[in-house]
Symmetry: C2
Subunit: 329 residues, 2 copies
C-alpha cells in the first residue's frame, strides 16, 4: 500500500498507514511527551521545558566560546561587541531593511489601542457579539523582529573605522510559518555573528565561519552538511532573487537530515553574504567612502537544540559522552 506522503516505511504501527502520522508529527509528539516542548494549541508556537532550555543555554555558552576563539576575525582582534535586543523593534528600522518587499508572508506587524472610554466600549461591544475587534486598534510604531541582526545595523556609524565593525547579537525572531513540523517555529531565538566592512573582509569572515561553524556542529555529533541555498523570497519576482542568490553563492546553509530520507534536510544555521544590502539601506560606508558590505553567521538556537534531540534522543543524560563534553553537559 502506497502512503500518500511517502512516509509509510517510517511508521511504527503496521496496518495503520491511513491514519499514520508524518515523521514531523511523530518527532513533535516525542518532544511533547518528554516535556521538552509544551503545546500551546496553536501551530508553530511552543513553550519550552526545563531540559530543553538547559540544552539551549549550554549551546549559547558554547557559541560564546566559539566567538571568543574567533576574535581574530573581528576589528583589532577585540572580539564581537554584544548586543541583545528584545522581540520587537522600531517600525522605522524594519522599514529600512525592506523586509516587507521580500518576505511579506513571514512578517508580523503590531497594532495598539489609543482610544478612550467610548472607543473601548465599542470594541468590547463588538467582542461580546463575537466579532473581530482589531479594527479598533491602529498600526503601532513597532514590529516583530524579523532576523536577530536587523536591529543592529541602526547602531553602526555612517562612516566605519578602517577595520570595520562586528557584532554578537541574539534574540527572538518571528516568522509566520505555522507548521506541524517542530523545526519550523514561528517564534524562536537566533544567535548571529555579524561583520561589517569592505567586500574582501566580509568574504574572508564568511569563509572562516563556514569551516568553524561546520566543525562546531560536527562536534555535537550532528550529521551536518553545507549546501548552497537561498532565502524564501516571496512570489514570482522572488524566484528571480532566489536564483540570483544561489548563482552568486551568497548563502550557505548547515543542514541536518532530521527526518532521514522522508523529508529534505533542515537548516539549523547559515552563513550569509548580504553584499551591500544593509550598507545601502542603513547608509553605512567604509572608511574609504564605499558602501559597506555585511555578512552574518546565524545559528537557529531552537533548531540546533532540536537537531540534538532528534539525533541523540530525548534523554540528554544518555547522549554520547563526546557530545556531552562538547556541550559541557
Amino acid at each position: 500500500m502506497t502512503h500518500p506522503h511517502g512516509v509509510a516505511a517510517l511508521d511504527d504501527e503496521p496496518g495503520s498507514s491511513r491514519t499514520a502520522k508524518s515523521p514531523q508529527q511523530r518527532f513533535r509528539d516525542s518532544l511533547l511527551a518528554a516535556g521538552l516542548l509544551i503545546d500551546t494549541g496553536t501551530p508553530g508556537l511552543y513553550g519550552r521545558g526545563a531540559e530543553f532550555e538547559k540544552i539551549l543555554i549550554r549551546l549559547e555558552d558554547v557559541l560564546t566560546r566559539a566567538a571568543e576563539l574567533s576574535s581574530d576575525l573581528t576589528p583589532g582582534g577585540l572580539g564581537y561587541p554584544i548586543y541583545r535586543f528584545g522581540p520587537i523593534f522600531p517600525r522605522a528600522t524594519y522599514e529600512k531593511t525592506d523586509y516587507v518587499e521580500s518576505f511579506p508572508d513571514l512578517t508580523g506587524a503590531i497594532s495598539t489601542f489609543s482610544g478612550g472610554d467610548r472607543e473601548h466600549r465599542a470594541l468590547m461591544a463588538a467582542r461580546t457579539r463575537g466579532e473581530q475587534w482589531d479594527h479598533f486598534l491602529a498600526p503601532g510604531d513597532t514590529m516583530l523582529v524579523s532576523a536577530a541582526c536587523h536591529p543592529v545595523y541602526e547602531q553602526l556609524p555612517s562612516r566605519l573605522p578602517e577595520e570595520g565593525a562586528a557584532a554578537d547579537v541574539s534574540g527572538y525572531c518571528f516568522r509566520n510559518e505555522p507548521s506541524p513540523d517542530p523545526m519550523r517555529m514561528r517564534s524562536f531565538r537566533m544567535r548571529e555573528f555579524v561583520r561589517i566592512g569592505d567586500p574582501e573582509t566580509i568574504r574572508a569572515h564568511r569563509a572562516a565561519w563556514l569551516d568553524r561553524a561546520f566543525e562546531l556542529l560536527r562536534s555535537f555529533g550532528l550529521d551536518v552538511e553545507r549546501v548552497a541555498a537561498n532565502d524564501p523570497f516571496f512570489g514570482r519576482a522572488g524566484k528571480l532573487l532566489a536564483n540570483g542568490q544561489l548563482d552568486a553563492d551568497l548563502k550557505t546553509e548547515f543542514v541536518v537530515p532530521i527526518y532521514g530520507d522522508a523529508a529534505p534536510a533542515t537548516a539549523i544555521a547559515s552563513a550569509n553574504d548580504a553584499q551591500d544590502h544593509f550598507g545601502q539601506k542603513f547608509s553605512i560606508s567604509c572608511a574609504d567612502g564605499s558602501v559597506a558590505h555585511t555578512t552574518c553567521t546565524a545559528f537557529g538556537l531552537e533548531r540546533t537544540t532540536l537537531a540534538l534531540f532528534a539525533t541523540h534522543g530525548t534523554d540528554s543524560g544518555a547522549w554520547p559522552s563526546a557530545v556531552k563534553e562538547a556541550l559541557a553537559l
Copy 2:
C-alpha cells in the same frame, strides 16, 4: 526659579533649568553612556549591552535558587515546574484572560500577510507612495504576551489534584507605555512564581513570598518597601476595579525610590492574589470542584536590574561586596 516639573533641585547644572533634563532622562543618559542599554530611537525600546545582560542573568540565577528554597510552598514540596514561553502566544489564550477588557491601552496585537502576488504589488505600491500598508495585513492568531504567567493557565488540568499546582515562568512581556523613563520599557522580561489551588493555599503562598521577596530584594542593597497597589485598569470603569483591588488588599508592590523624592517610587516586583479570575476564565477547578484561585509573585527582570544600577552605580565592579555576594558576582 521654580521648575515646572519640580526637579530643579536635582539638576547638576545651575542656571540651566529651562532645558534641564528630568531625573528619568538623566538616568537614561547614564545607562546609555555606560553601554548598559542601547538606544533604538523609539521610546521604551532598548537593546541591552553585555554588562546589563550579565547582571540580569545573575538575577535570574538568584531567583532560581530562591524558588528552590521555596519549594516548601509547592505541591508536595517538589518545587516549581519550569515553563518558558516566547514573546507571543495564542490569541485564543489572550482572549480567555479578558486582558483587553481591563488593559486595552497596553495590548499588542499581531497582524500578518496572507495575500498573493497581486496583493503584495498593491501593498508595495502603497508603501512606495509613502502610505500606511497595514490594511493589506489581517489580524493573526497570535498576540504579544501580556504577562509572563498568562500562557501557563492553558497548561493546567481542568480538575487539579488535591495539592493544587505551581509554575515557574519567565519570558518577554509587552506593555505599550512609551516613556522617557527607562524603568518603563515596552518589551521586558518578567519572572513569576505561580501557585494554583484553594483560597487558603493561595493566601499562604502569597504571604510567604511577601516576606521572601522582600528579604531577597533587601539583600541586593535596594531601599525597597512593600505598598498596597492596584493594576492600571483602563478608563472610568477601571477606577472602580482599581479601588476594589486596593480595598481587598490583593496586590502588593515592592517599590524602590529610583528618583529620590522627584518621582514616586517604582515597582520592581509584586505579589498578587488574582482570586478566581484565571480559574474562571480557564475553567480550572480544585479537587473538590470549587473554582481554583491563583497567586503569582512577579519580578520585573529589567526593572530590578535597573534598580541595582540606580542604587549602586553603573559600574558593577564597584558595587558593595555584600551586594556582589548576594548576586554571586
